[in-house]
Amino acid sequence: MSRLIEIITSDDPLIRDRSLDAVCQELTIQQLRAECDDLDRFRRTSSNLYERVRALFFLYAIHRFHIPLRDRGAAPAAIPFAGYTHLLKRRYEEAIDIFLAAQASLGAGAAISSALAAAYRGLGFQTLAGQVRHSVRSVRGNQWMFRTGHPEDYPLRLRRELLQVEGGMFPVLRESTPVRMDLTHSGWSDIFFLGMDFPEGARVVNISVDLAVRAGAGENGPKPPVEAYLRVIDQPVLRLVSVDLGATAEISTIDEVFDFARDYLSLLKAAVIASGLVPPGMEGAVQPLAQILERLTGARGLGIEIVSKVNGIPKGSRLAVSTTLLGSLISACMRATGQIHSLEGGLQEDERRLVAARAILGEWLGGSGGGWQDSGGVWPGIKLIHGVAAAEGDPEFGVSRGCLLPRHRIFDRDEISSETRDLLQSSLVLVHGGMAQDVGPILEMVTERYLLRSEKEWTARREAMALLDEVIEELRAGDVRAIGGSTDRNFSGPIQTIIPWAANLYTATLIESVRAEMGEDFWGFWMLGGMSGGGMGFLFDPRRKPEALVRLQHIMTATKKRMEHAVPFAMEPVVYDFAINESGTVAALLRGPDALLPAEYYTLAVPPLVRTEARLLSPSRRAELDRFAAACRERSEFSGMVQQMFDHLLPRSGDQQTGAGQTLAALLEAYGFDATQHRQIQADLRSGRIGLAQNRLPASTDITDVHQGDAIDAVHGLPGRYREIGLEALRSGSVAVLTLAGGTGSRWTKGAGVVKALNPFCRLGGRHRSFLEVHLAKSRRTSELAGAAVPHVFTTSYLTHDAIAEHLRDRENYGYPGAVLLSPGRSIGLRMIPMERDLRFAWEEMPQQLLDEQAQKVRESLHQTLIQWARQAGEGSDYTDNLPLQCLHPVGHWYEVANLLRNGTLARLMESSRHLRYLLVHNIDTAGAAIDPELLGYHIDEGAGLTAEVIARHLEDRGGGLARVNGRLRLVEGMALPHEEVESQLSYYNSATYWVDVDKLLAVAGLTREDLGRADKVMEQTRRLAARMPSYITLKDVKKRWGKGQEDVFPVAQFEKLWGDMTSLSGLECRYLVVPRVRGQQLKEPSQLDAWLRDGSAAEIERLCGWR
């Protein structure tokens, strides 16, 4: 029997929990392939869902991490395009069959394994997500909502109490809900998949808390931070209002309820659907919403208004605010429709469970997902939430080991005393560090590691489980100091062992600073939620807490200021006041004069009403306005409303400014913006002369894969003489490194606009390092090897120059022995509102990765909204509605090299290094790029003007490659390929690392070394050269931040010229070298980091580095 299948099917934990990696290390490549065959057969026939899933993840891991390590020398193989298309469409089974057939006919190799790995992983997660979705729908009490498809079948009725008008106004139902705080973390064991496969290991201690952002003395204290309001209105619409997001919608069609990305009200809509108010089965029904409202209220002409309010808690708090809000809204809607018995007060246990189940459904509907503990705020006080083994009668029985929904055991005061609760409150400082990151990839990593039982991580998980027991004991004993020790150990031990990315430099710096200031009185750090940097806890000796509250705010603000160019912050850090909430979610019915919505609601609602003639207002609106006017005079929470409303009526205007107070116009002026060129590009874009479709080469272009000998294999090493040539060049000082660092990593931070070069992306050599530091460390190592310091140049742009200069100055160039120069940008572009045709081309004609069914619906709705935005904002017009720096763009890395000539850096470099002749040019995110004497020697010996490095294509390498274009060998950009499938036929991918002969480059530009001092000539010749380079129109995501940590992402159009196109120039002789993947791989997205760390790439790069 296959050893791996035995692991999957065994009931014995000693076998079942064996690490895949450990077993694989004992197997030969042939044995591994045989295991893959067995596993694939097994997963096709096994009737047990979790066995199938584990087999799929085993297959993924073998193909992703084990086969490539043993198979480095394999020849590149094309990945069938049909399989790739299936992958994009999430048709994983079909993709696997195609890839396996290709493997059988063309032979195994790392390339086809990369495709198989992606397909197996995708199918694994798809199977798991399908099971969770099925379980959510199968929960008793949820099923009817999927059957109800016509208003005539609509079964809910509003409670009579809500229809009884008093003082001209309908009563208001208010639900107040605390958020949850996770005390033990427990290695993300609240992920549904984990709880359903390993219920005994899925446990957390979870505390419901009231909260207030700390604003100073005299401010309101903590209260349940989440509120939902519901009332009847005398208008047959569903009115949804988010007080915090300033968004209102009056919905009159069923379709609009299901249109999630149309506005900022997706969470309210998800609650309306998940509560059954408009059941999910109604999606697509064409009847007017008024029909449902009539059946619901029992009268024609009536509607419902639902209002949400979060008490100033910013996004990314790691306190599950959005799930809590969903739960709060659902609870209010369910009370109103009698699905929860009590209209007022708390909930019964079975009702809380129902709300939690509906919140899970709501999250799925909204295309998001949280953990099963996230509705914890619905329950009161401190509780243990734990997985439950599925038993007969459960819908999960026979499918998974555990149930979808966990159990909640509330600790009473006999078990955790009032004194302990008080002590916990007076020790803990709760903060939001300002970072708001997507934890989705982390949850996938956790699931993956769990299923693979990777040795280190599995041990860490068991440690985390033991730590939970420890924390419970400490709570019982009232030893809060010990709790601090436990949560601290949890963070520095198991959490970071399971997921190193849970920590970051910002958090580490905060902890270090706090420890330095508070010494022994700092009892420990406490990580909340998916990752650190946002919501976090710090435990102190209660005597020092008042001081700690003040100091933490100061430390966070100062640290953020130091790091804000390098790390994506969404907001200013804040400190919270908090208190344990012992009630859970609670509702009250506000009647008569009290039947008002929250004060902030009226700043949104009243201005439009003021503009309406009084006679056109409905009677209840008139009564409400009267009551509101009285409340402004009488009630403290309504004081100051008149001023706020006035501000809202007359919004302030003015140019947005940068942090340094510069306007967009000033920045354009300062950076030498070429307005004439911009207007030309704008006109071309609008007229359709340029655009995404026009980036492509003509359809008749003949593009084929390379021939034998077109690219020289350097993976298996080059002749020894090259190394000597290279070393000699190094010793003579004829080589420099040019790192392209003008970019802001739009994919790396999804348009957040930080300097990618400075991003402390990974722990290497014992601490977090930035890309910039890593590149300097490699050059230091090279310099040591050659016995001569290699000059290192970083090209910068308007976005990155000051930050990089300051960073290097503060760190004294990391003690680098040679010259470190910055080559500032001389070109700048102004982003434009995209053309609708380009958006449609990108989203509808280019191959797109489909998302999970519901998430895809949300994405499509978002696309429609963004197309609408582009139309309204004016297609092709200047993009100016953001911070000025977010409106500008660097114009591609071709200019970064050209700027070297224009700004005099090359001339300076040549002055200081007279023998300089060769440049290694590479991207900031090509972490493995370094001067390799062998490769340098090859370049010199060949006498080429430019030698480009390529790598054997893996599935994820999209964006062009090395090809014969109309017979001529060159690099071709993905954007320029006339058909998508051409790319799949290209064996090599461009690593964007080049060896350049300076003199030959100058010659192509019509220049000599002597000309470098003549600015006019350099400018003229580089402009001419630029004119020979194609310009590409691209769409980039740019974030616009607003509110409290809210971010919108807009696609904007910009143009760029790319360095790889230099290989198409006649007169520049080019060579191509195939280099190892670890050298050529570019890190474009943080989600690549985990595999990069696990497959040994990071370790190999560490060996290239010489740290200070």
Partner: protein, 285 residues
């Protein structure tokens, strides 16, 4: 156990006029709804009938009872304290005897044996209280009490009742009222005919004593009954028609006519009506 008494409740503020309406019965005779109900009770071999009415309605009801006036007793519900209280108003009439209970705002039409007779026969045979139930779509749950139970072995349409919930939401129904053998989205809801024991009156009395001003539902008392003793539900083959719903009277009348002597005549009239309408529409085009 013999059922000689019947209680019809007709005191609800919104329903009090319904039993007074006149319809053409299956036998082609014009009768008040009240008369039709009394005849169904008599068919179940009941000998005495009590009707609980809104104070002051007695004389109109007496008139509506027509030829049965002599065997019917009218009791008024002094205050509108709900359905349970209305039924309890007949507790002196019932005394320590089992009794048939029917609601006054529904009509029952069955092809075979009248529904009331079916329910009473089973109660007598099983010597326990029995309620008539019917599988009802979840969209109508807001109108009825509903039961959860288990089918008795070997008895096709007979259930042992575990619990009763008044007007459940579909959420609660799905969680607590699912009965195996009943289609998804359908629940066993009361038919409006019950053969009850004096225990029910006793339980009603207790519930009303605890909360005299609160509306007590029959369902809550039947839920308690189910906890105490064997209580069965029989799935009725007939149809019930809610007279108080929109077009309720019209639908009830059609149901009676299409199941009775004048079926052909009524059908012909309906067809004529439809044909006229279609022709008129055709001419307009």
């Amino acid at each position: 156990m013999r059922f000689q008494k019947a209680v019809i409740t007709a005191a609800g503020p919104d329903q009090r006029a319904l039993p007074l309406q006149t319809l053409v019965d299956r036998d082609g005779q014009e009768k008040s709804v009240l008369c039709i109900l009394i005849e169904q009770a008599l068919a179940a071999k009941v000998e005495e009938v009590c009707v609980v009415v809104w104070p002051g309605d007695e004389s109109r009801y007496l008139q509506a009872a027509g030829s049965y006036a002599g065997m019917v007793r009218f009791l008024s519900q002094p205050q509108p304290l709900g359905y349970g209280h209305a039924l309890y108003c007949a507790h002196d009439f019932v005394g320590s005897d089992p009794f048939l209970h029917m609601v006054g705002d529904h009509l029952y039409v069955s092809a075979g044996k009248p529904s009331a007779a079916q329910v009473v026969e089973i109660a007598q045979a099983e010597e326990c209280p029995v309620s008539g139930v019917q599988a009802t779509r979840e969209s109508l749950l807001a109108q009825y009490g509903a039961v959860a139970g288990h089918r008795l072995p070997g008895r096709h349409s007979l259930y042992r009742v575990d619990t009763v919930i008044e007007k459940p939401t579909p959420t609660e129904a799905e969680q607590r009222l699912a009965v195996s053998g009943i289609r998804a989205g359908y629940y066993l809801c009361f038919f409006g005919i019950h053969a009850l024991t004096p225990t029910v009156m006793e339980l009603l009395g207790k519930a009303l004593a605890v909360a005299p001003s609160k509306a007590v539902t029959l369902s809550s008392v039947l839920a308690e009954l189910a906890r105490r003793e064997q209580y069965l539900a029989v799935e009725n083959t007939g149809r019930r028609y809610n007279l108080g719903s929109r077009y309720g009277l019209l639908t009830s009348q059609l149901a009676l006519a299409l199941n009775g002597r004048d079926r052909t005549e009524v059908l012909a009239q309906l067809v004529e009506l439809l044909a006229d309408r279609e022709m008129a529409a055709g001419q307009k085009e």
